[in-house]
């Protein structure tokens, strides 16, 4: 299977924002089949089923995740041979009355050295009034439980997804998101697959640019909804995540993690 691995800068962008967008990368041939396939339903497997068993060779889902760009991005983030946690087809009906409350999927998940990746696939163009997924960049490291964030309606810098047909997003399990109200006359489809890693998520991507300034630039990004003080903690926590993903215990961003652990002459 051909893959296209992500660069370090791209993975750093994922660590900062909590998601990666691959706009319009699914060919029309697959997009045109998608609605019928999603309408018919994709059989579910038990939680933790290997890809080959959950999605047999030649099935729509298998062809989707074996597209070189998708396969490479998945390998870069969750590694080889992930298992399928679950998958679901999400449909937002035309003029449906309510948006989903802002939430993180599953339950509060405090892992700092492993993460699941959720793939969201949009087979048709999503326009502004179709209720494309609301995503809050940089929210994935916040410790919240599912829809306890439902009180928040809008945050500065949020992304209200609009995209061309055949767009795939890959999201960290902790990202705050929600399906928005569909104010259009068109049914909106989204196919979601949650992947669990089966190997340590360490240097799984093309690391040839690991020392590039672009990596630090991505990891240091602030988002407009961050409060002044907590925004600094976000950068600190990303540095710790990058340490885990690169097996480099000395990595830091602007000295945030180093300064507060400097205790000369003291035992750990």
């Amino acid at each position: 299977m051909e893959t296209t691995l992500l660069s370090s800068a791209q993975v750093a962008g994922f660590v900062a924002a909590g998601y990666l967008r691959l706009d319009g990368i699914v060919p029309d041939e697959l997009n045109e089949q998608a609605i019928d396939v999603l309408e018919a339903g994709i059989p579910r497997s038990p939680y933790g089923t290997p890809v080959a068993k959950a999605f047999p060779e030649g099935t729509f889902a298998r062809r989707l995740i074996e597209l070189p760009e998708v396969a490479g991005a998945l390998h870069s983030l969750v590694g080889p041979d992930p298992t399928i946690d679950h998958h679901a087809v999400h449909i937002r009906e035309p003029h449906n009355g309510h948006a989903q409350p802002l939430h993180a999927d599953a339950i509060i998940d405090t892992r700092t050295d492993a993460f699941d990746v959720q793939l969201m696939y949009y087979p048709h163009e999503v326009t502004a009034d179709m209720g494309g997924t609301l995503v809050v960049p940089g929210s994935h490291l916040r410790r919240v439980n599912e829809s306890d964030t439902g009180r928040y309606q809008n945050l500065r810098g949020q992304t209200r997804l609009t995209c061309p047909a055949g767009t795939v997003m890959l999201l960290h399990h902790g990202i705050w998101h929600g399906g928005r109200r569909n104010d259009s006359d068109v049914r909106r489809y989204m196919f979601k697959i949650r992947f669990n890693p089966t190997v340590p998520q360490v240097r799984l991507w093309d690391t040839s640019d690991l020392g590039s300034p672009a990596v630090l630039e991505e990891l240091g990004r602030r988002f407009p909804w961050y409060e002044n003080a907590t925004g600094r903690l976000e950068i600190h926590n990303r540095a710790l995540m990058w340490r885990a993903m690169t097996a480099d215990s000395s990595f830091d961003i602007d000295y945030w993690a180093t300064r507060v652990t400097n205790r000369p002459g003291r035992a750990a």
Partner: protein, 86 residues
Amino acid sequence: MKQQVLVLYLATSALDAPVVGWSRYDGTGATRPTAGDGDEPPYETGVDALRDGWRLFQASQLIPPYPGHEYDTSFLKHEFFFEKLS
């Protein structure tokens, strides 16, 4: 008399700090605010809402971090509830 509620999330604990998030709930039924319904905040700061006639009725307390969890991030910290009656 029916209550309209505006919740502003600010960049610091000061009421005149910039707005970073917002929510609205409308007891009059005239509008249906919901998640992701706008990208621009209704006011630039909390004080701007006061100037427009919103009455502050609750503000977040300043609570020290729990020992051992000083670097954890979770909910937005600086939450201010306002109301208008109409």
